[in-house]
Each structure stands twice: as structure tokens, then as C-alpha cells.
Amino acid sequence: MSYIKPSFVHPALPRNKVGYLKRDYEGTISTLCAGCGHDSISASIVEACYELNIEPHHLAKLSGIGCSSKTPAYFLSNSHGFNSVHGRMPSIATGANLGNKDLIYLGVSGDGDTASIGMGQFVHVIRRNLNMTYIVMNNGCYGLTKGQDSATADFGSMSKSGGGISTPFQAIDLVGMALELNATFVARSFSGDKDQLVPLLKAAMSHQGFAFIDVISPCVTFNNNKGSTKAYDYVRDHIEVTGALDFVPKEEEITVSYEAGSSKSIELFDNTKLNLHKLAKDWDPTDIYSAKAKLEATKRKGNYLTGLIYVNPESKDLHRILDTVDKPLNQLNEAELYPGDGVLDGINAGFR
């Protein structure tokens, strides 16, 4: 069900550098439960796209099936969207991206969609380093089918629908898995922390390669109870951040300076900069070993490590691996694809 929003525009509303209002990045009114973490993430996506000055038609949003996968209807209504089949969004994104490298691809998935049915496609899209941002709205349960445990539900966690029985299985940690697979951008955030999530989204969308953000996003209806490790209260009390991130677009100068030793500046492929400060101890965002160690140490304490966890500024995306032409493949015309006069004659001759 979609509701229509009022179309009146106040002339004084601010526009971004490409001339769009923030509302141009919004979608239809959400039909998710009131208080759902996913809606906060949608709001952060709107904010990030507005601030990044992305023209809405230069972004394609893709999803699988589930509550999380419904959200692309709730942001960027001027962008093309593709709500595909359960767990298979990565392959749709791969084909779309190979067809047109010039668009920004924003994939939205959930913990069921990614960590169970879609695990195969998730690990392989990481392996191919597809240039896309992949968000998992992680609530540890299957909301749309009324609250069954998902594969990211922590061992011992108790959901509302579990009937007082705690999860007997070990959780799949998607961040740990992404690091293990050498994903080139790995981050975790919390739907309730917009200040952290917006710069992470901007950095992810500027990264040339696969950018993964696991966003803990409590399910208010089925998994926000006492005993659940994905409840708002629990998550708020168990967060450890890697550091504070400032995203600096390529045209802007760095104005703030931080104390030496506690900050780091990372330049991405497109000359945008990630400035990190208040760095956690024993952690370097460009060193995958320290990222893995930091993640593991935090996990042992029963905490969530959030913020940018790892980035590889040397990342080479699938198009560069495959060495495709600069022009998007979907724009090559008959003349550009014609192999040339006499070529087929030569091929025929080879079969005589």
C-alpha cells in the first residue's frame, strides 16, 4: 500500500549542488511497523544521497525479498528499483552493473535474505568485487513471516516468537565473513546512529568496489524484547566504535586537523577522502589483520564493533578485472559491435 505525499514545495527549501531538494530523494510512505529500524536506515540513505549530490537517475536500487527488501520503495522514488527474488539480488546487481558501469548500485538486503538463502550469491559478489554498496538491515529474525530466528541471531539470544527458548545455534557474523573473503570495504553501524551511518554510506557509495555495511536494525515487533541481543537497549549498551569518520568529497579541502597518532586519512579511487579520528587502539582500517583482530576482540566481550572496519583503497572492481571498455556495454550500438567486413568469411573458412 502506498500513500501519496503532498506535492507542495516551499521556495525556501534548500537544494543540493545538482539542484535537488531532499524530498526528491524520498520515496513512498513506509508500510513497515512504526519504530522499525529499517525506516531510520532509509532516512540515512536519503540524507547520504542528497549530501553526495547524486542525481537520482544515476542510482539504481536493488533488493531481494523480506522487510528490508521492501525499503527501496521508501527512498529515491525517481530512481529505477528492482525488487528481485529471495537472496538473489547480488546476481541482478552484477548483471545490471556489467551492463552499465556508470550508475551507482545500492543493494538492500536483510539477514534472512543474505545469511541464509542468499549466502551463495553474497560470498560470490564479494569475491568478484562488484562496484556496489550492499546494506544488510540486520535484525536477527524473519519479520515478514512473523519472527522466526535468522542465521544472524546470536547464540543464547531470545526472540519474542521463540517461546522462551534461546537460539541454540551459532550466529553467522556477516562482517567477519566479509573480512574473511577480502571484501574491499567493510563497515557496521546501528540504525539508531544516523551520525555514524550517513558518512559510512557516503564513503561506501564512493568506494570503487564492493562496500558492505551491516546495519543492526532492531525488529520492534518480533525481536526487541529482553533477552534479545538485537534489541534497541541491548545494542545501545554494547557498541564499541572503531573511530569517527568524516567523508570529504573530492572538491573540498580538509579543514579540521586532529592530534597526530589518533587520526588517519585515506584517499579513495575517485579522489574522495575518508578522514578518521579518535581511532580505536590496535586498529588500522587499511590493515585487514588488525581489522579481523579488532572484530574478534570486540565479539569476545559480547559487543558490536561499529564504524568503518576495513577499507582497501587499492580496490579494483569487476569491470577493471574483466578489462571492459570505458563506454557502458548497454550503450554500444550495432556499428560498435559489428566485428567487421570479412570476419565471418574468415570464420567460415576455418570450418572447411
Binding site: 500500500m1 502506498s2 526528491d24 542525481e55 537520482p56 537517475h57 544515476h58 539504481a60 527501496p72 520503495a73 522514488s77 525517481n78 530512481s79 529505477h80 528499483g81 528492482f82 525488487n83 528481485s84 527474488v85 538473489r88 547480488p90 546476481s91 541482478i92 546487481a93 552484477t94 548483471g95 545490471a96 552493473n97 556489467l98 551492463g99 552499465n100 556508470d102 550508475l103 551463495g120 550469491q121 560470490h124 568478484r128 569491470h319 574483466l322 578489462d323 571492459t324 571498455v325 570505458d326 556495454l329 548497454n330 554500444l332 550495432e334 560498435e336 559491435l337 559489428y338 566485428p339 567487421g340 567486413d341 570476419v343 565471418l344 570464420i347 567460415n348 570450418f351 572447411r352
Partner: protein, 614 residues
């Protein structure tokens, strides 16, 4: 030891025989056998090779059968006239497979056990392995050149021009010229042994002709891969599965040469080996949604895995093309044998009410043409198209007309709105709005316009403007429009081929794909016996008016196909609502390509029973 071949009288027979090579796979025999077939092709005589191979890399029996037919019959024929038996595992069965009066060429390096002797055939021993060990030192060479030695012997026995074979060897090893002299040497060893010890040529022999003009010898899968390149496919995603793998290999091989930007060496295509068939078709659909021509190739098991996505392509109306190179099913079935066993599962693939356009080629040239047609139709009908090949067509070489491409041909990209179209002030555009009444709506490609044309593609029900809806009447209106689209397709799919100018009688026969070779031969065999049957080759699903009319016009119609259930017959009954009693099954489903003898036998059997009942 000289074993005579002239004791038993045999009439001289020119350019009409079947020779079978029985080998162990992984021993290098494919190269020698391929040279044999190509030598006959170069001699200007029609022939068709069939590779009957195991699902294995090394050590199991494999056969290579070549039918030579001056009359141009290119289907398989029953009865083996000459057998080159070099596989001890299958030797007993191989000896038994020869026709009475046939010729057995075997390795006499060791004494032949008496249980293998047959009085009614000609036994010709050639000490292949012994000769090879005498002349070559490295064990691997001894094994490989043993094959060339028997090739040399067959060249002498069948009176093939040895120079033709030498030229082929030179071409084959043009990049490794060191290998030419030892191959020549082995060829001569076998040739000379046969000349000195056996009566050459045999009464069954080859004579040069000029019957093939500028025809080519090519595997269907190679032609399919090329057709996709010429048809503008710039993305291919696939997962390895016999017998479709060589489609992907052909696409990559040729695209790497002819779809490359000259100045930079960069590729004008993306070739992705996916993690499974689900991902492969997902990538094709993603590319199609983005306005990129894309395809995948697979076989039955792969199509089963793709079913969910196939429904998405159909219902969300996203262009996609699947090449289904059919093999023996169900389940893993006979993965290296041929069948037309996926006609129904492809036609109605996926859950819910789904139907798909099938294009059914019968020659490599048609694979080439239908590949580009599939891409055009996927775009113009905004749906999923199956190109229905099979193992026989895909993996065996076939003689056909040379491939042709009109350089002025435009890709039919279908109803796509660009930025200018979207600017038109009076435009009432809905992604699923049938503005033209043909069931096909206008689509937009992501990235086209800053504020117009964006929509949400989904597999759920939606209204004409792509907005989610659960209203029953809106859903129904949409699926009824898909029926309108289906009916539009009936007029645009390839028309059937007829083998008579006008219908001559009450009997008809219907066939498709590789069954055509044997069916047209059977048609002539029956004509000689005075049985007149009108014939139609179906080239596509849905069935157009011509198909319906042909069946309507005949009292009894034989449906000849290579599966157990008579799947084309079921499609005809289901779609055209003919009385099943007038549609008679003529089936072959043992995994070997169907033969004309089999068809004639089954049709005659039916006719005699029917006459008895009258």
C-alpha cells in the same frame, strides 16, 4: 600374418557406409577420429560424425561414429559396416555390433581370444600398439600415435586420398610444427601396413566428389556462440554443464578476438562464470533490465535451478535468453547423451501460469540465426526466450551452409522510451500500460531521465503504472494482457518448414530439431515404398496458424521426437486442443540420435495395426 579380406564376396559400395571407432576416453583418439571425418568432408562427400562419449575424463569407453552418405542423409543410421575396435573393455559388444559382412579392424599386437571370433564378418588385424612401440619411444607418444596408425590404415582401406589427411595434419599442427613429422610417420606406418598386408581398398570405399560446395562443418554450440556475438550480446553468464559448456567457450573465444576495442585492447563484452545457474540467469536478467543484451547457456538440470528467476523474467517482463542444450534426463540422467526431453519443462518453466517462447533450430546455421533472433525477441517481447538445442546438434559437427550476417541489420530493441520520448507533454506512460493493444508495453532503462521514467520492477502484482497492488481485478487485467502478448508472439515466431508444396494425403508427420535429419530420410524411404506422408518441421513455440492448419488438414499425424512422453505432442494437444487420438507418437529416447529406420518401422507398425483393425 596376412588376413584375407576377399574370401567373402561383397559388392562394391561407394560413399555409403557407417564406420565406428571404439576407443578408451582420454587416450587422444578424438584427434585421430576428427581427422578421419574431416578428410571425408574435404573429399566432398556428405558425412555426419556422432561422438558417443561417457561422463568421464579418462578410462571409459567412447565411440565415434561416422556416417558417409552420397545421397546426403545426415542422420544416424543403424548397422555398423566398419568397426575400428581398440578398446578391450567394450570389444565383445563392439564385435557384436557389426552387420553381417562387416569389417572389423582390431589391434593384433596380441593374439585375439577365440570368443571374439565371428564367422560372418571380415576380421582384419593390425598390430597397432606393436608398430607404435617399434617406432616411438616415449610411452605417451606410443599411445597417441597408435591412433594415427589406425587412421593411416583406414585411409588405405577406404581409399581416402592420403594427401588430404596430410594437409589436415599440417593445418592442425601449424602452431606446433614439430609434431607434423611424427604424425606423418605414424600415418604412413598404418597406411603401409594395410597396403602390404591387407587387400586395399575394401569393397566399401570412398570416392571423391564435389557435393558440398562452400558448406562448412561446425558444431551447433560454436554457431550459437557466434550468433550471440553477431546478435549483439555483450554479457554472458554461465555455469559449466555438459552439453552446453562449449557455447560459453565459443562465445568467449570468438568475442575475445572480434569484440575487442582495437586501440585499447579492452573488451566490448563481459563474460562471467557464475557460482551456479541461479546466479547465471540472475545476471542475465539484471543486464536485460539495464538494456544490455545478455544470455546464458545451460542444460535441463540448470533450467530446473533457474525456474524461479524464469518466472520473474516472464512476470516482471525483463528480457532474457537461455540456450538450453538438452541432454538425457530426468535428474542427472544421461548427461552425455542426446534427448529432446525439456520441451515441456522449458515451455512452461516456473510456478504460476507461465509460458515461454521456444526457438528450435536444427542446423548450426539455424543456431547462428536463431541466437540473434532470440536476443531480438527477448527485447521486443520483453520476456524470456529459450533457444532449444540438444547435445547432438550442439556437440557434434554438422555440415551446413556457411554463416551469413547482414551488416546493415539493426537490433530490434523493442519498445524503449528515451529521454526525448519521456519529455513529450501528452505522454501517458505506465510501465505496464498496453498503449498499442498488442500486449507489449513501453519500458525505460535506468539512467535515462533525471525525473521521469523511473519505476520499481518487482515480481509481485502491480498496476499499469508499476505500483504495487493486491487488487484482484488489476492483477487479472495484467495477466490477461500477457495472454494478448502471447498471441502477438504467435505471428512473429519462425514459421514451420514444409517439405511439400501442397498436402498430398491424409497422413502427416511433425518433427523438430535434430529429429529432422532422420525424419526427412524416413519420409523418402516411405515414399519409395509408396507411403506418402506430408511433413512439417516445427521451428517455434507458441504454434502459429500454419502449424494448426497442417494438423487440422490431416487425419492422422505422427509426432516424431526424442523423449519418452511425447512432449511436443502434449504441447500440441494442450495448446491447440486437437483430439489426442489423431496424434501418434513416434519416439526414440535411448540417448542415441534417432534413425530413419526406427521411424519407418514405427510408422509401418502403426499403419499395419490400424489396417488390421479396420
Amino acid at each position: 600374418m596376412k588376413e584375407a579380406t576377399t574370401e567373402k564376396d561383397t559388392e562394391i559400395s561407394v560413399n555409403d557406409f557407417v564406420i565406428r571407432f571404439a576407443n578408451v576416453n582420454g587416450t587422444g583418439s578424438a584427434s585421430a577420429n576428427g581427422l578421419f571425418a574431416k578428410a571425408i568432408f574435404r573429399s566432398g562427400v556428405p558425412m555426419s560424425p556422432k561422438n558417443i562419449f561417457p561422463s568421464n575424463i579418462q578410462g571409459l569407453p567412447t565411440w565415434y561414429e561416422v556416417r558417409v552418405s552420397e545421397k546426403g542423409y545426415l542422420g544416424r543410421r543403424e548397422g555398423i559396416d566398419i568397426l575400428v575396435g581398440v578398446n578391450p573393455q567394450s570389444f565383445k559388444d563392439d564385435v557384436e555390433s557389426l552387420v553381417t559382412g562387416g569389417f572389423l579392424i582390431y589391434d593384433s599386437s596380441r593374439q585375439l581370444h577365440s570368443e571374439f571370433l565371428r564367422e560372418d564378418i571380415h576380421m582384419m588385424g593390425i598390430p597397432m600398439m606393436r608398430l607404435s612401440m617399434e617406432h616411438f619411444e616415449v610411452p605417451r607418444h606410443q599411445q597417441l600415435f597408435k591412433n594415427i596408425i589406425y587412421l593411416g590404415a583406414t585411409v588405405a582401406l577406404l581409399d581416402i586420398d592420403i594427401q588430404v589427411v596430410r594437409t589436415l595434419i599440417e593445418e592442425q599442427f601449424a602452431k606446433k610444427p614439430k609434431l607434423i613429422p611424427p604424425n606423418f610417420k605414424a600415418l604412413d606406418i598404418g597406411f603401409n601396413f594395410a597396403k602390404d598386408n591387407l587387400t586395399c581398398p575394401l569393397p566399401i570405399r570412398l570416392e571423391k566428389r564435389d557435393l558440398l560446395e562452400d558448406k562448412i562443418l561446425i558444431e551447433g554450440n560454436e554457431a550459437t556462440g557466434l550468433g550471440m556475438i553477431y546478435g549483439g550480446a555483450t554479457m554472458m553468464a554461465w555455469y559449466p554443464i555438459t552439453p552446453s559448456t562449449s557455447v560459453a567457450k565459443a562465445y568467449e573465444k570468438h568475442a575475445s578476438k572480434i569484440l575487442v576495442e582495437k586501440q585499447t585492447g579492452k573488451k566490448k563484452f563481459a563474460f562471467v562464470q557464475a557460482e551456479d545457474e541461479l546466479a547465471a540467469i540472475g545476471m542475465v536478467i539484471g543486464a536485460g533490465w539495464n538494456g544490455t543484451r545478455a544470455f546464458t547457456s545451460t542444460s535441463g538440470a540448470g533450467v530446473s535451478l533457474m525456474n524461479e528467476f524464469i518466472g520473474l523474467s516472464y512476470f516482471a517482463e525483463v528480457p532474457a535468453t537461455i540456450v538450453n542444450v538438452q541432454r538425457g534426463g530426468p535428474s542427472t540422467g544421461m548427461p552425455t547423451r542426446t534427448q529432446q526431453g525439456d520441451m515441456m519443462s522449458s515451455a512452461y518453466a516456473s510456478h504460476g501460469d507461465t509460458k515461454h517462447i521456444l526457438l528450435i533450430p536444427c542446423t548450426p546455421k539455424e543456431c547462428f540465426e536463431m541466437a540473434s533472433l532470440a536476443l531480438d525477441m527477448a527485447d521486443s517481447f520483453q520476456t524470456l526466450i529459450f533457444l532449444m538445442s540438444d547435445l547432438d546438434l550442439g556437440m557434434n559437427e554438422h555440415i551446413c551452409e556457411p554463416l551469413e550476417w547482414d551488416k546493415n541489420r539493426k537490433f530490434n530493441r523493442g519498445k524503449v522510451l528515451d529521454a526525448n520520448d519521456l519529455e513529450k507533454p501528452d505522454l501517458d506512460w505506465g510501465r505496464y500500460l498496453d498503449a498499442d493493444g498488442d500486449g507489449i508495453c513501453y519500458r525505460t532503462i535506468p539512467g535515462t531521465h533525471p525525473s521521469k521514467g523511473g519505476y520499481f520492477t518487482r515480481g509481485t502484482s502491480r498496476d499499469e503504472y508499476a505500483k504495487y497492488t493486491e487488487k484482484g481485478e488489476v492483477y487479472q487485467r495484467n495477466v490477461d494482457r500477457l495472454t494478448v502478448k502471447w498471441n502477438t508472439a504467435k505471428n512473429e515466431v519462425p514459421k514451420p518448414e514444409f517439405y511439400q508444396n501442397k498436402n498430398k494425403g491424409e497422413l502427416g508427420m511433425v518433427f523438430y530439431g535434430t529429429t529432422t535429419y532422420a525424419a526427412t530420410e524416413a519420409m523418402e524411404m516411405m515414399e519409395e515404398k509408396g507411403i506418402i506422408i506430408d511433413s512439417m518441421r516445427v521451428r517455434a513455440f507458441p504454434f502459429g496458424q500454419e502449424v494448426e492448419q497442417f494438423i487440422e488438414d490431416h487425419k492422422e499425424v505422427f509426432i516424431i521426437e526424442q523423449n519418452k512422453e511425447g512432449q511436443m505432442r502434449t504441447l500440441i494437444i494442450n495448446e491447440l486442443e486437437f483430439n489426442p487420438k489423431k496424434l501418434i507418437k513416434v519416439l526414440n529416447y535411448n540417448g542415441y540420435p534417432i534413425t530413419a529406420d526406427h521411424i519407418v518401422e514405427k510408422i509401418e507398425e502403426h499403419l499395419s495395426i490400424r489396417d488390421l483393425l479396420r
